[in-house]
């Protein structure tokens, strides 16, 4: 797999720009859901941008990540082309996955993006495996595993913490604690604490303000350095919030699991408002234009031909029997 360069996210301006890109991307995706062009809806990342950007600031070209059902932020922050990601959400041939994956499976392996994932917690062991493989082959690759607070209760995730710890695998576990797993408050689902859980496996763990990109980047930098130095996994709990519903479909439901004051309080801590660079306005304009082009690209993409529905099913090209005879 040829490695494509990851974006640099070193300066505050670069980080702001990437956060804006994600925010704008999600805003447009929401509009496209309403327009009926993104079938199945999405899990918006809005509000959590500082986490993806802060963590990816610590990653280099050749590093990898595994993502979640709420993956657009991670995928963009690791450098995926917004046009191709948007095309993927529209189910077009020019999408990242040729329209085969959609929002929940968006991937760009050339950038080390091992995929969003529809199953909560499922990315973590994949990250451990990729990192373990890199370690065995003498590379100083770091792999970031993103997951939500809900994933803290998945057996496979807890098993993964143990494996990463005993084998000192260069993984950075990133728990995006946005307070809820769908409607379940983290406080009602997670006994003990996120970092306490990681620490129990002997994994250095810290809680960080997930609305502060600089704080996330600093913590992720420490974690990545440990990984590259052969000191094994680290765990970050990033306290954050999703500004939207769990899934776009929530807009059509009457749910009362979060109250308006809570949402407002968190919106006031919007990562994009925390410490915007002087050139924010021009960056915003540039990003808007870039996304205009991205949207154009995506809308112009061809709908895949139905005859190719089983294409890619097997890597070796094995053709499956059809579901009906002639």
């Amino acid at each position: 797999m040829t490695q494509v360069s990851s974006p640099t996210l070193e300066t505050p301006a670069e980080r702001y720009r990437m956060m804006r890109l994600i925010r704008e991307f999600e805003t447009r995706a929401l509009a496209l859901v309403r327009e009926g062009l993104i079938v199945g809806g999405t899990h918006p990342y809005t509000g959590q941008e500082a986490v993806a950007v802060g963590v990816c600031a610590a990653l280099r070209t050749g590093d990898q990540l595994t993502s979640t059902h709420r993956g657009h932020g991670h995928v963009l922050a690791k450098g995926a082309d917004p046009g191709r990601l948007l095309a993927e959400l529209l189910g077009r041939e020019n999408g990242l996955n040729h329209g085969r994956g959609g929002s929940m499976h968006a991937a760009d392996l050339s950038l080390g993006i091992l995929g969003a994932n529809g199953m909560v917690g499922a990315g973590a062991p994949i990250a451990v495996g990729a990192a373990w493989a890199a370690g065995r082959r003498g590379r100083d690759t770091v792999v970031a595993a993103f997951f939500g607070d809900g994933a803290l209760n998945q057996g496979v995730l807890l098993e993964s913490l143990n494996l990463a710890a005993i084998w000192r695998v260069p993984v950075v576990f990133v728990c995006e604690n946005n307070g809820y797993a769908t409607t379940l408050p983290a406080s009602a689902g997670v006994a003990g604490s996120a970092v306490g859980r990681a620490a129990a496996f002997g994994i250095p763990a810290e809680t960080v303000d997930g609305m502060d990109v600089a704080a996330v980047a600093a913590a992720a930098g420490r974690a990545a350095a440990r990984a590259r130095a052969g000191q094994g996994p680290s765990f970050l709990e990033c306290r954050t919030y999703r500004f939207e519903g769990h899934h776009t479909v929530e807009r059509r439901m009457k749910l009362s699991y979060r109250d308006a004051a809570e949402v407002a309080a968190w919106r006031a801590r919007d990562p994009l408002l925390l410490d915007p660079p002087a050139e924010a306005a021009s960056i915003d304009a540039e990003v808007a234009e870039l996304l205009d082009r991205a949207e154009e690209f995506a809308r112009a993409g061809a709908v895949p031909a139905a005859t190719g529905a089983s294409r890619y099913l097997y890597a070796d090209g094995l053709r499956a029997r059809a579901g009906a005879g002639a």
């Binding site: 994956g101 998945q154 005859t307």
Partner: protein, 325 residues
Amino acid sequence: MSWLSYPKALNRALADALAEDETVCVLGEDVGAGMAGVTLGLRDRFGAGRIVDTPLSEQAFTSMGVGAALAGMRPVIELQIPSLLFLAFEQIANQAHKFSLMTGGQARVPLTVVVPGSGSRLGWAGQHSDQPYSLFAHVGVKTVVPATPSDAYGLLATAIRDDDPVLLFAPAGALPVREDVVAPLVPIPLGSARIHRPGTEVTVLAIGHLVHEALAVAEELAGEVDIEVLDPRTLHPFDWEALGDSLERTGRLVVLDDANRSCGFAAEVLATASEEFRLVAPPRRVTRPDGAVLPFAPELDRALQPSREQLRTAVRGVLKGGWAW
């Protein structure tokens, strides 16, 4: 009565069971809020002690259901998406299913697992669009796939009262079905098929939401061929007698099944029919392809699901066919 939706039918079956029997409880993700529709309003009525929101720990809470069942309760587990069954496969196939035999009949495990939306929901892509009922019929778990609201009510009611684990798949494609319910809603025994449309020339056995597709095609082709539409309703135990009777009449069989082809339920029906029943022509099945993974793009997703066009072709095929030798 009046128009009853499919999710409302499941909801009512649950509510009636909860009201009737205090050992009934519901465990699952977001069941309190009723995200999937099936448990809507039940927490308000029965309390958070009986309608229990679980953390995302499918393995543990499914097996908790087994433990609670061993302790005398009748837990109902809701698994939001069909692939959660893959996570809890060990707990269902290897624990819940096997306890009765392994303990020499000491234990009974009256556990019900409900999947409120199996199969394709356009745009949910590869990991959320499976139709895995055949896996459980193979394992031997009682497996139920209602096609209509009143069947959904009746089969869930029976499932909860059954002393063995029962898995109920509500196909996403059937959720929009509404029914003008005139008779009172009643429990329906497991293992009893339903003839939705009598016919004399071809038996079309259809599963879940595809029953409605079969009915549409049967009406459409009414001038050409007289199709009997048979809905098994439960895949295990299966009503072989009803199938045998139907084939006695028609001698020709097409199975319409949303599962993957190889070792899917349609294979079982064809196998048993060819072994045991009267067939005057080679049978056919319309299924998903082998090893199907539904691609995201709606056009591709649809292309892998059984279609009316394929059913028409299959029906015409069995009409023309005959054992050539």
